[in-house]
Symmetry: C2
Subunit: 183 residues, 2 copies
DNA sequence: AAATATACTTACTTATAGATAAGTAAGTAA
DNA sequence: TTACTTACTTATCTATAAGTAAGTATATTT
């Protein structure tokens, strides 16, 4: 991938997380990168292509993290996930799912599919860590691991959304409570 | 409020919840109501005015519900809240906060303020019901009631978002677990 | 009966969106 | 050296967005 193309994807990722997919335009990308609108279209003919790439990138990053965390005990791996969200919160960004899910109906089929893939992969990963962590007595919770994964994921996602509206401390209160509840 | 004006607000509310604030236009309102674009501008000079009214309406509806539920025990009142979200889920809609929070930065100051007000009122109400319900031994949970309110609110909010992406059963799994965790 | 307010319509403006066609400079490969 | 690719630019298109000015029909008030 050329340097410009990578810059476009990175900037688009930020814009999606800061303003939402339908609220940014190619101009928001071409202006800061000091290229023409058509240059963005050269790399990504349609906006949907750019959106799909942004989600793909996120999937890759998640896969890299999972690989990196592999050696850690399950409770620590989950803490690492929380830290990823914490970093987003610090930068005033919401997660991709939080940003794209509300506009889901307006997204192209490829974007919808990639977003589903992302959601499933993250939930499956989290459910597995929860289940293994519980078996090893590192974690404590009731019910199916997958249901618990859903609860934690939705807590993290919406904590970023609410933080934006009610102030960044909301994230900390939520993430601390989530981790305490698992002990 | 005139009949047309009410229809406009109702439809705008649906559009916000289905497509997001930045993804619908006055045409999406004027066409189905069989009026002209300018008629919508007559009632709501700027889109932001319409958005503010939509949130105001939601606040009123919430206040009415709270009044209606007043006699019930706290655990039942919380179940009523869950039912409101369930209804949204059935109609493929997300809640106002879930829809508007991602685009928060692109909203006008009055819309931002009203949204904050909405978030605070709902969280304060929920925290109070949790606290009272715990004191009466109707509910069981650890930590501050406000923190628990944050967790439950984010679960409900994001369950609607995730449901849209991964299928409507997600909402049921989450809401059931939320209620079980309080017993 | 005249004046005024309400609730619109017609007909427009301005701005911006996403997208495309055609061209070009620089590099690569046969 | 010719052919072709990559990575753009310039210039433009079409569609649509939000918004407005001016006119009109109807009902209400004075």
């Amino acid at each position: 991938m050329s340097e410009t193309k990578e810059k476009i994807v990175a900037l688009a990722g930020q814009l999606v997380r800061k303003k939402g997919f339908n609220a940014f335009s190619y101009k928001d990308i071409s202006d800061p990168l000091e290229i023409r609108n058509a240059a963005v279209h050269y790399h990504f003919p349609a906006k949907s292509d750019l959106g799909t790439e942004v989600i793909g990138c996120e999937l890759e990053k998640f896969a890299e993290n999972v690989e990196k965390w592999k050696g850690l005990p399950e409770d620590k791996q989950i803490m690492k996930l929380v830290e990823v969200f914490q970093k987003h919160n610090k930068n005033g960004m919401v997660c991709l799912m939080g940003s794209l899910a509300p506009d889901f109906e307006t997204l192209s089929a490829p974007m919808q599919k990639k977003l589903q893939q992302m959601g499933n992969e993250m939930l499956d990963w989290l459910a597995e860590k929860l289940e293994k962590g519980r078996r090893k007595k590192l974690l404590r919770f009731e019910g199916h691991a997958y249901d618990r994964a859903l609860l934690i994921m939705t807590n993290l996602q919406s904590s970023l959304l609410l933080s934006r509206v009610l102030g960044p401390s909301v994230f900390n209160r939520i993430s601390e409570r989530v981790l305490k509840d698992l002990k």
